[in-house]
Assembly symmetry: C2
Homo-oligomer: 297 residues x 2
C-alpha cells in the first residue's frame, strides 16, 4: 500500500453510534412507565406517527395524562404494572408480549423489571431502550431540535448528555429561520420533476439527481423558499430541466435574490462588520454635532 | 380542558422520524452492494464497531477494497451476488440469511433483489435500509458530522436531502472546536464521582445527576476542558460534592475562566453589540479630531 493510498483513507475512529432517522409511522411501540422520562419519549413517538401502548399504574405524569385523553387514536393506556412476579422473581411475562411490538421503551425505576424486558425484547428481536441503563439499550436518544420537516440530533453516546444539550442549543441557533420554506420549495420542485421524468434507477434517475443538486447549489437557502411559487418551478423545469441547464434565481426572475445574498453575506461575521460600520457613522455624526456645538459656543 | 391546560401542551406535529443513536459495537451487519453508496455505509458501520459482512461481486469500490484489505477483523467479503434467482424470480434465499444479522443494508441497482431482501428482513424482524427506496426502509440515514465522541445528524426524512447537507455544514461550523476536551473533562469527572458514590437508581443517583448538571451549568464549554486535569477534578469532588456545593471554575483555580466568559458573552449577538460600540467610540474619536481640526483652522 503506497503512502498516498493509505493517507486517502484515514484510520477508522471507532466508538461512534450509527445515527439514524427511524420510521415509526403506523408502527406499534410499547412504552413501560408513566413519569417524566416516559413523557419525553411519548412526545417523540407521537410526532413520529407511532401507535403507543402505555403500561403504567396511574396517576400518570400530567402531559401523558393529557395525551391519553386527547390522542385516543394513537395511545392505548393500561392502568397497571407490566410483567409478573412470583416468589420474588420479576419477569416480562405479560399479556402484551414485547414481541408484538416494533419497539419497546422502558422508563421505570424497577431494575429487575427493566432487565427482564430487555432480555425478552432481545429474544423477540424487538429494538429496546431501557432509560439510564446503557448496556440494556439497542439505541440511545440524543438532544434534539425540530423545525418542521427538518430534525437534528446531537449525541455523545452517553459520554456527556449535558454537553449534548448545550451543543444542541448552539445547533438550534445555527439552523436558518427560513429552512422550512426552503424544504417546501425544493420538495415541490422535486415532486414536479418526478412527474415530468418518472422512474426509479437508470440514467434518467441519475440525470434527475444531478440536476436537482446543481440547482440547489445555484440557490441559497434563503432564496429556495421562492420555489414555493408554481411559476418559479415552471420556469426552472421548462427553461432549465428541459434544456439541460441549471438556472439560478436571477434567471427565473426571483428578485429578492440580491437582497437575500446580501442578508446571507451579512449573517454572522458580516453582521459584526455592519454593526461596526453603523456604529462608526452614528458615532461620527453625533461627535461632529457635539464638537461643533461646544467649539462654536 | 381549560384554555391554559391545552396551551401548555402544543398540538402534536406529526411527520417526524425518531432520531436515534444505534449501538452496533460487536453486532453483525449484512451489507449487500459494493459501490459508492455501500462505501459510505461501510464507513459509518466500521466507526460504530460493527462486524460487517459484505456480499457483492468484485471489483469493489476503491475505499471498500481498501477496508476489506486493512480491516480483516471487522469485515468479511463474499465475492458474489446475494440471493438466488430461478425462472426469472429473484429471492433473498441465500446461505447468509438476513435473520442471522442485527441489521441489513442494501445498496444495489437491482429493484427485485432489494424488494426480496426487504421482505425477508421484515419477516425475520431484522432492521433494514434499502438505499433510495423509502418504503423499504425501517430507517433513513441523515447528513452527519462527528467530532470525537460527539456526533450530530441532520435529517429531513427524505424531504430535502441536499438541504440536510447544507444545514449539516452550518451545524458543523456551530460546534465549538474544543467540544472534545469538554466531553473528556466532564466524562472523567463523572467517572470519578461514580467511584465515590456508586450505585444505580435511588436518592444518591438523583443527587449525583443534580450535582453534575449544576456543575456543568456553572462552567462554559470552553472551561470544561480544564476538568481533564486530575487536580481540578479532585478539588471539585472534595470541596464541591463532599460539601454539597456546586463550584464554578474560579473556585477551583481555573484562571482562564474570566477571559472564557468574556469570549462567550461576545459570541453571537454580543459581538455585534461590541463591534457597534467599538465603532461608535472609534467614529466619535475620529470625527471629534477631524471636526476640531477643520473648525480651528
Amino acid at each position: 500500500m503506497s503512502k498516498q493510498e493509505s493517507s486517502a483513507y484515514p484510520p477508522i475512529e471507532r466508538g461512534a453510534s450509527l445515527l439514524l432517522a427511524w420510521r415509526l409511522d403506523g408502527r406499534r411501540v410499547l412504552l413501560i412507565g408513566g413519569g417524566a422520562v416516559a413523557a419525553s419519549r411519548l412526545g417523540f413517538l407521537l410526532q413520529s406517527g407511532a401507535h403507543v401502548t402505555i403500561v403504567s399504574p396511574g396517576p400518570l405524569e400530567a402531559s401523558i395524562a393529557y395525551r391519553v385523553a386527547t390522542e385516543p387514536d394513537h395511545i392505548t393506556w393500561h392502568d397497571r404494572a407490566y410483567g409478573s412476579s412470583e416468589g420474588g422473581d420479576v419477569s416480562a411475562d405479560d399479556e402484551l408480549p414485547v414481541g408484538d411490538y416494533d419497539m419497546v421503551l422502558t422508563a421505570v425505576d424497577d431494575v429487575a423489571l427493566s432487565r427482564a424486558v430487555c432480555l425478552a425484547a432481545r429474544a423477540a428481536r424487538t429494538p429496546v431502550n431501557v432509560a439510564d441503563v446503557p448496556p440494556e439499550c439497542d439505541f440511545y436518544f440524543g438532544a434534539q431540535v425540530r423545525r418542521g420537516p427538518l430534525q437534528a440530533m446531537v449525541s455523545t453516546s452517553g459520554a456527556g448528555p449535558k454537553i449534548a444539550v448545550i451543543v444542541r442549543d448552539l445547533v438550534a441557533d445555527a439552523i436558518p429561520e427560513n429552512v422550512e420554506d426552503a424544504i417546501e420549495g425544493v420538495g415541490a420542485l422535486r415532486a414536479e420533476l418526478r412527474e415530468r421524468a418518472p422512474g426509479v434507477g437508470g440514467e434518467l434517475s441519475k440525470r434527475r439527481m444531478r440536476w436537482m443538486i446543481g440547482t440547489c447549489d445555484a440557490w441559497t437557502l434563503g432564496e429556495m423558499g421562492a420555489m414555493k411559487a408554481p411559476e418559479v418551478r415552471r420556469r426552472l423545469l421548462d427553461d432549465g430541466w428541459e434544456k439541460h441547464k441549471v438556472l439560478g434565481p436571477e434567471a427565473v426572475g426571483v428578485g429578492a435574490s440580491v437582497s437575500a445574498r446580501v442578508a446571507k453575506a451579512l449573517d454572522g461575521a458580516g453582521a459584526v462588520w455592519a454593526a461596526g460600520a453603523g456604529g462608526l457613522f452614528t458615532g461620527a455624526a453625533v461627535a461632529t454635532l457635539a464638537t461643533l456645538y461646544f467649539v462654536r459656543r
